[in-house]
Amino acid sequence: MTSQIRFEGVSKTFERDGSRTVALEKVSFEVAPGEYVCIVGRTGSGKSTTLNLILGLMAPSAGRIHVLGHDPYSDFPQLKGRLACIFQGDRLLPWRSVLDNVRLPLEILKVREASLRLTPAEWLELVGLKDFAKALPHELSGGMRQRVAIARALVCDPQVVLADEAFGHLDEVTGNHIKSDFKRLVSGGGKTVLHITHSIEEAIGLADRIIVFGARGRVTGCFSPGAGDGDAQRLRRSIYDHVQDAEAPPAEAMGI
């Protein structure tokens, strides 16, 4: 089956004030339709750069990226509404009501609510916030705000969902509830998910496949938690070792 996200020898170099920082070097991986893939790695291993490249916010220095068969940088119009992202922190517009925040992608992408499988109000109901449509973000708890961010990402019914440390700022109990709800929503909709996280526990709990990034995005390990990669304890240990043993990212990539 054709992969929905494909990296082929992708490199990304940043140049600033005459110095070069290699964020990614010849990175290759694929994500199949409906698959939930987590990328774990140390700070500065190129995870966020990978996400920005998939979002088409920057062009790769070398190699090719395909998202749903299109180059996300040069051919983004073909991906409008088919690719969504849940960011670190909820990133809700504080002056907009909860419902209007969920509507934001529809307004920008000029999608009519009538053409949707589920309206923004129905998405709010799905994430358990039916009664808070008119509330402002500051009136909600952190967990509730992240639920709104999930509804906002899914309202256009995207095929590919990206998550960037999306649950890292929540406390463990709230985070666990929201993670399992998120997993249920994306799995039920047959969506492809690429989730970037620091947390090995989170990756094991959510992913069909875990990719471990070493320095400059070098793939140092690949694990399938649900497909006979040993018991949970051994898997956890093995992923942890891969992350630990990975060559330390260059200091400049870690902002040192």
């Binding site: 960011f87 920008i108 500051h138 708890s141």
Partner: protein, 265 residues
Amino acid sequence: MSLTSSPDLTLTRSSRLKIWRVNYEALILFSLLTAGWQIASRYYPPYLFPSLGAIARTTLGILTDAQALETVALTYIRILLALSISFSLALGFGLWAGIHSRIERALLPFTQLLQGVPALCWVIFATLWFKNIETRIAFVILVSAFPSFYYQIREGIRSVPSDLSDMVRALRPTRLQVMRKLTVPSLVPQILTAWQLNLGAATKVTVMAELLSGISGIGYQLRLAQELFRMDRAIAWTLVLIVFVLSTNLVVSALDRRWLRWRNR
């Protein structure tokens, strides 16, 4: 029906209890000052210290006289109209500068220069340049208020949170959509602050312009009061000005509470 587990539905909405507290300290100081004034009025002529009763009667006379109210309206319309023009220009240039750094670089010394010129100099320039009184006053308010509006808008654009900007950018909005959905709404606090600052400043500038080169308006009435040695009229017109500034500030504060409800964290 919800497909998800029940979220924590505890609202953090702050209570909207308003606590009114009498400021006794200010009340005592104010009472002492007015009592002192009243005592002084018994020993000095009315062109220096008119009695409180005379001031009250003159103020009431202004507020109940159609011609005097026309004078008040004329000054207020001048202030609000010229400020609106100044704000529109500053908003346009501020947004333009927010998009193009070259425009920002070009405008920066120009606005610094405008800010450095005292309002009185603008009054003199306007008197020499323009024959029409309305043009003179509008020009002085426009150039005096422009830098403050422009700086607030420019700072507002700079302070749009980058995480929100990245989130919106990921949806590939047009420039107009970025302005409408992100930039302008996030500018509202700075815009309201600029209006609050400029209303007070523009009132002073307008009255000064009317006083020095006008033939109508509150400033002109103040000049007449000075020429006729009518301190009661000077104070009464000043009170009318204070009422205007305070009431317009109240309107801006009400808009602030309504439009910036989202900032009540």
